[in-house]
């Protein structure tokens, strides 16, 4: 199949080179980790293959898939009511809740996992709090349940962020006609609203599922053996690079299959509004007597996902300070974290624009191929991507090796899909008629994109950038491996202290990390349009 036949599709023209070239470039860059894995995988000895071809691998596959499923499902179940309550009801303090409920995304999983263990373990803080009530021991949370709980509470905001907009824009007329046809609130939701949310839910679910696939922190602390666990076990000890490569390739295959499921479910829906002007302002439902249960739910989720973890960190910090432990000044780390994260956010979101335009305006085989490939970096454990870049840069691109540019490059590979998703979603909202109107008024296609599409897609692009900002803030393996010599960030100093059990010293950078990451998210969510009260 040649390139031309990939590009050409029936209903759309060919993308201009200024869109096509960067989009293909992104696709090629995303193939770097994969090609490294293939190079290393080819070195695999027969015994390595034997190890892999044992039935045990199938069990691990099953466990990995099961965890992806449970975490995704739990995240959706958490996110849908939260999105609805914060955007479509008269929930008191809905702005505050909107901000709080997306914050768990800023907690690194290696911290989050540890915090959940210390809070919810059989003799953890929760048990200590309950011991006056005669609770002697809590049931163990390790295994699937613990891993699901931890990962869901840390990653549900991926779903929440993608569906908030969709929930807010649900056409009230459709809900009302369903009610008029005799369906109850719940049936209306399942039969009418949920199908409309499907594209947003699957897009967010994809991120959660792939994040689950890539995460090590939570599964290791919760003792749940997935493929990622196998990979890290190799890095921890014998460093069989070909085994690492083969297992990572399996992770990549799972990732691509998951993306295919998403693309299949997305189908051929039309997203942009076709009516004139703007849609009717959705009404906010009066919660009435349901206000208190709703507030209880919000409080519960917020407690479990952000308030308790932050409080434990605070407790460690206070305990350490009162024990006279010296706290180092971390201004430098803070500045490093903010600057690389900002660069990563800007670069990734700008780079997401050409591919998003191609996917939305010039759909075809090539566009969906590149889109699929672009998810691989996100699904692979960070360490695998980082080591693959070491291989290429140290040997073939020495001048950028151990510079900030390679690090930013790694962040782009790791986090591209989060920016792409947001940019694509906002482009889908923009009718192609707007660009056509601009062109008929004398603007070239490029100028039309610049003066019409990009300003309108702006909020979505900025939102994508902010997600990249805060997951870069907490990123660890690539930062440690690819950062220039002596480079440290808040995340690396949290790790440095926590891995040696210096909890008070870990708590300060962890709290600063959470606080700093929260700012852009809080500003964005608080400024969202449609919060007309």
């Amino acid at each position: 199949m040649n390139l031309i036949s990939l590009i050409s599709s029936k209903r759309v023209g060919k993308p201009p080179i200024i869109i096509l070239a960067p989009a293909i470039g992104i696709g090629l860059v995303m193939l770097l980790p994969l090609s490294y894995l293939i190079i290393r995988g080819m070195d695999a000895s027969e015994t390595t293959w034997e190890l892999l071809l044992k039935p045990r691998t199938l069990v691990t596959l099953g466990r990995t898939a099961l965890l992806m499923f449970t975490v995704t499902l739990t995240s959706v179940l958490i996110s849908v009511p939260l999105a609805w309550l914060t955007t479509r009801t008269n929930l008191p303090l809905h702005r505050m809740w909107s901000v709080i409920t997306v914050l768990p995304l800023v907690i690194p999983s290696f911290v989050g996992g540890y915090l959940f263990v210390s809070a919810l373990g059989p003799r953890g803080l929760l048990q200590q709090a309950l011991s006056p009530l005669g609770v002697d021991r809590l049931p163990e949370i390790y295994g699937l349940a613990g891993a699901t709980l931890t990962l869901s509470l840390l990653s549900y905001p991926y779903v929440l962020l993608t569906i908030r907009g969709a929930v807010r824009n649900l056409d009230p007329a459709l809900e009302e006609s369903s009610r008029a046809l005799g369906y109850g609130t719940f049936q209306t939701f399942v039969r009418v609203s949920l199908p409309q949310l499907r594209p947003a839910i699957t897009a967010g679910s994809l991120l959660v599922a792939l994040y689950t696939l890539s995460d090590f922190g939570a599964v290791s602390l919760m003792r749940y053996k997935t493929f990622t666990w196998v990979i890290f076990q190799q890095y921890e000890s014998s460093l069989d690079r070909s085994l690492i490569a083969l297992v990572s390739l399996m992770v990549a295959i799972i990732a691509i299959s998951t993306v295919l499921i998403d693309i299949y479910t997305r189908g051929k829906l039309r997203y942009h509004s076709v009516g004139p002007g703007t849609a009717r302002t959705p009404t906010k439902r009066n919660l009435g007597g349901w206000k208190w249960p709703a507030l209880t739910l919000m409080t519960g989720i917020a407690m479990a996902s952000i308030i308790v973890p932050a409080s434990i960190l605070w407790y460690w910090l206070v305990r350490g300070v009162s024990a006279g432990e010296p706290l180092s000044i971390i201004l430098h780390d803070t500045w490093n974290s903010i600057s690389v994260s900002m660069l990563a956010a800007v670069t990734t979101s700008i780079l997401s624009i050409p591919l998003a335009i191609m996917i939305v305006r010039y759909p075809g085989r090539l566009a969906s191929l590149i889109e699929r490939v672009s998810y691989i970096g996100f699904a692979l454990p960070g360490i695998v991507v980082a080591v693959s870049l070491v291989f290429f840069a140290a040997n073939y691109a020495q001048p950028i090796y151990q510079t900030m540019w390679l690090l930013i490059f790694a962040y782009v590979i790791l986090f591209f899909p989060t920016a792409l998703g947001a940019t694509r979603a906002s482009l889908l909202q923009i009718s192609p008629r707007l660009e056509e109107a601009a062109r008929s008024l004398g603007y070239t296609s490029l100028k039309a994109v610049r003066s019409v599409t990009i300003p309108l897609a702006g909020p979505g692009v900025v939102m994508g950038g902010s997600i990249v900002f805060l997951i870069t803030m907490k990123e660890l393996p690539a930062t440690m491996i690819l950062g220039s010599l002596g480079f440290s960030t808040l995340a690396t100093s949290v790790w440095s202290a926590a891995s040696e059990a210096f909890f008070a010293q870990a708590a300060l950078p962890a709290l600063v990390l959470i606080a700093v990451s929260s700012v852009p998210m809080a500003v964005l969510v608080a400024r969202e349009k449609g919060d007309f009260s």
């Binding site: 209903r11 002007g277 703007t278 056509e436 603007y443």
Partner: protein, 345 residues
Amino acid sequence: MSKAAVKCGELTKSYGGKLAVDAVSFSVLQGEILSIVGPSSGGKTTTIRMLAGFEQPDSGEISLQDTLVSSSSIFIPPERRNVGIVFQEYALFPNKTVAENVAFGLHRLQQNEQHTRLSDVMEMVQISDVSNSYPHEISGGQQQRVALARSLAPQPDVLLLDEPFSNLDTGLRVEIRNEVRSILRETKTTTVFVTHDQEEAMFMGDILAVMSEGRIEQIGGPAELYHTPSTRFVASFLGNTDFLSGIVVDTTVRTELGKIPAPKESQPGPIDLVLRPQDLVVGEGPGEGTVEASEFRGPTYLHHIRLVSGDKVRVETPAYLRCEIGDKVKVGIGPHYQAVGFPSQ
């Protein structure tokens, strides 16, 4: 007044093997309004999108103001065609005010010229009072005016209107289309107007083209098409047309509603006559039928009558002529009827 502002020759476009526009040719003179009417997915929108340059024809040529803009070897992009377009959904820039929307196409003018032109256009379409509002803050009718103003502001050689009134309420629709028509007249703007509403098409167009399944069935003056449709499709599409079977013998047609002069150049044998509700009378005449339904329309009634032969006709009568359903009535052809018909199939 005789220069062709728009000229299309044998325009053809297909999507995925399915012909959307099939060898369409027409020309529009300077300052004229061409209405293209037809059922949805008949190829109307594709035709004007090709005129605008949003779609590239598979074959055929387009000339605007005697300049070839599209052929097998030439494709001028939309921004260099000086063509204005108003979309069904208006496509106003939601992040720009009314004035910014209208001024959007004036980027090539000097600052002071921009100002003058902007206020002229805004005044002409009567939106000066909402110039600082955003599109979502104004009514549908006003949004329509803004879209028109925006497309007229750069003084396009040709204006394309794609179902521009279909999102308006009936009352507003009539008002706005009157206004638009007089503005286009006043500015002598060459216009191609697409609609699925035959009444609107006949009202707006100096010339009218009926399109179906990618082909132009007939093109000409609206009255000409209405009174002398050249195809069965055109006849049935324009007006509440019923077909009455008859037989041509020499220069007359025999029908169950009596004998009438045959259409010119008609062949002897079975014929289906084109009858509009205004062509028939109730209460007198040789024919007989049963009233099946009566639509009250204020000044008139529209009676649905099944004739003895089983043919169904609709007859418009003054409102005082009431019939009950089931009434047996006499039916005849009015004295001014000019027979038009097609050989029976």
